[in-house]
């Protein structure tokens, strides 16, 4: 039961990441390979703001000069809102130069964002305590079941917001931009501005997910926010069905729930790194095979047909 609850919470948090990526890549064609970076921004913001002063008195920090963490002790709600806002703001700052790039170059630039954030988390001891990480992050309600319900609530809100956005006139500009930039621009829509909104909203939701993760795991360290996280999100979004939010949820359940977490208690062999590496190899091969033979994913995008459109009118 405890095990199922753990998996369910992790899957729900990953679902938020997947929905955000689907908004960016599926609907707007912005390949974000820096998911781990924005996830880290959210996790660290929330952790630094909410960690209690007690944390600084832990043994391993004896003689640590001390910095920001442990001095603010804000409530959870402040942490999660600040995490969302800061991730969005950083996305905006980075977006100004980077969103001018062609899509495939944008991908590499976003990997760089994640790397830079990783190095900052590792080296700015006054802010993040470095590689030891932050511990004793409070979990709201101090109850796993209630916390899981809270994560589900946030997931539902994100799902609703993204679905509404994509169906709004604003979301139609996103999809039009995805299909043909020139046509959209010639209709007087600002391609850059619409992309910027998708970029900022998506990254802000990744920050929200990071905050939820920090309060769930109760301890974070820079080593968690590596490209592997990004890769897992990409694979389940593509397997589940790019451009279809329900497909993303199913993909997360399949890849993260069944494969990544569900195989955790199978008998391990070899050195401790062998099984996780094998798992990633299998996922990587699966990604290649999926793109080769079923690029639309398990559940493809529901295209708007003329009949449907007439019906809605």
């Amino acid at each position: 039961m405890e095990f199922a609850l753990t998996i369910a919470t992790i899957v729900a948090i990953y679902c938020i990441l997947g929905l955000a990526l689907n908004l960016q890549f599926g609907y707007t064609n912005l390949p974000n390979f820096g998911i781990a970076g924005f996830f880290a921004v959210g996790a660290y913001t929330s952790a630094i703001l909410t960690v209690p002063h007690r944390f600084l008195e832990m043994e391993i920090f004896a003689g640590f000069p001390g910095g920001v963490p442990g001095r603010i002790e804000a409530p959870f709600i402040v942490g999660i809102l600040a995490a969302t806002a800061l991730a969005g703001f950083i996305a905006f700052l980075i977006g100004v130069p980077v969103l001018r790039l062609r899509e495939d170059y944008l991908a590499v630039a976003s990997i760089g964002v994640a790397e830079a954030i990783h190095y900052i988390a590792l080296n700015e001891l006054w802010l993040t305590i470095g590689s030891a990480g932050i511990r004793l992050i409070p979990m709201p309600f101090a109850n796993r079941i209630l916390y899981f319900l809270l994560v589900l609530l946030v997931l539902a809100i994100v799902f609703y917001v993204i679905n509404r956005l994509v169906r709004s006139p604003f979301g139609r500009i996103w999809r039009a931009t995805r299909e043909d930039e020139t046509v959209t621009a010639s209709l007087g829509k600002s391609v850059f501005r619409s992309r910027m909104w998708a970029w900022v909203i998506g990254c802000a939701f990744m920050g929200t997910a990071g905050s939820l993760w920090a309060h769930y795991a109760m301890a974070i360290q820079p080593g968690e926010f590596v490209p592997t996280t990004t890769f897992l999100v990409w694979i389940f979004v593509i397997v589940g069905g790019l451009r279809n939010n329900k497909g993303v949820l199913i993909g997360a359940l399949l890849i993260i729930g069944l494969f990544e977490q569900g195989t955790r208690f199978l008998p391990a062999f070899g050195a401790p790194y062998v099984v996780p590496a094998l798992r990633l190899i299998i996922i990587g091969v699966m990604l290649i095979i999926f793109i080769r033979f079923r690029p639309q994913g398990v559940i493809p995008e529901r295209a708007m047909t003329i009949e449907k459109h007439i019906k809605t009118i």
Partner: protein
């Protein structure tokens, strides 16, 4: 200052060739391979196999590595990317596939070698002063090889038949195909060259530092910054960009903090994108208005 000159040149020797290789692959084959950083790692580990397990001299290990990595890279193109390109999928799909390829390579290496860092077995050598520089003989060899290979590639692009075919394919693949160029062959040769260069760079980097399974991602970001600085599809720009980035990185290591080397490369990239997105060696002057422009 002496340190900066010496280390800067050495870092340049290890960055210039992978940057040139990535540039050629983007220019000719027209898709971005995120696994390129992992090709560099692959080169480093293959040389480690020859050097540490078989006990070869590092130079011979390097030669063998170049051949094997080049063939492996071309085979990955033929086996995975070519079938997708024939189906006319977009560059973004190829990009996502290359992400998967990179993860497979990285984790295969991880299983084979484990997470601990390695170093090559090399005889200790004394460093000597050469004017303002301070090098061991092998480091001189590295710099000479790097410059010779880079110049060789430039001459090849300019004067040989293969270079002409590559430039023609780069300019217009359809037209080249109509004129009877076997562009698949050109692509294969380009990947052979690009992966050979990545292997050479990987060995040089590992001689200067240590070999780890996750070095590829930092390398990818760094050489991408070199390309942006020099203008993405410009081979000369790639090498000059590598020169600028490597000196900036070493200056950071000396005066600010060594862990921020990759970050500074990234910051330079962002600045270049803000002031001159086409690279500092492209035509046309810098315009202050481009700082404020928010339209693409």
């Amino acid at each position: 200052m002496e340190d900066l000159l010496s280390y800067g040149l050495l870092t340049f020797a290890s960055l210039a060739l992978p940057a040139l290789g990535l540039c050629l692959s983007i220019k000719v084959v027209k898709y971005f391979n995120l696994a390129y950083g992992d090709y560099v790692t692959m080169g480093a580990y293959i040389a480690l196999l020859f050097n540490l397990i078989f006990g070869w001299n590092i130079v011979w290990a390097m030669v063998a590595t170049i051949v094997i990595t080049a063939i492996a890279g071309a085979a990955i193109h033929k086996g995975i990317f070519k079938p997708l390109m024939e189906r006319k999928v977009g560059p973004l799909t190829l990009l996502v596939v290359s992400l998967g390829v990179g993860f497979v390579i990285r984790n295969v290496i991880l299983i084979a070698w484990g997470p601990q860092p390695y170093q090559y077995k090399m005889p200790m050598a004394r460093a000597h002063h050469f004017g303002p520089f301070f090098f061991t003989p092998f480091q001189i060899f590295m710099i000479v090889v790097c410059l010779a290979v880079a110049i060789g590639i430039f001459l090849m692009l300019r004067y040989t038949q293969l270079g002409r075919l590559m430039r023609a394919t780069s300019d217009n693949p359809e037209l080249s195909e109509i004129r009877g160029i076997n562009i698949e062959k050109v692509y294969s040769y380009t990947w052979l060259i690009a992966c050979g260069l990545s292997a050479l760079g990987g060995v040089f980097m590992s001689i200067l530092g240590t070999i780890t399974t996750w070095m590829g991602i930092g390398v990818l970001v760094t050489i991408f910054a070199c390309l942006i600085v020099g203008g993405i599809e410009n081979p000369y720009g790639a090498v000059l960009g590598a020169l600028i980035i490597s000196f900036a990185m070493e200056a950071t290591a000396i005066w600010i903090s060594p862990p921020y080397k990759v970050t500074i490369a990234y910051v330079i990239m962002i600045v270049i994108l803000l002031i001159k997105p086409s690279g500092i060696f492209a035509g046309g002057g810098f315009k202050w208005s481009s700082l404020l422009r928010l339209q693409r």
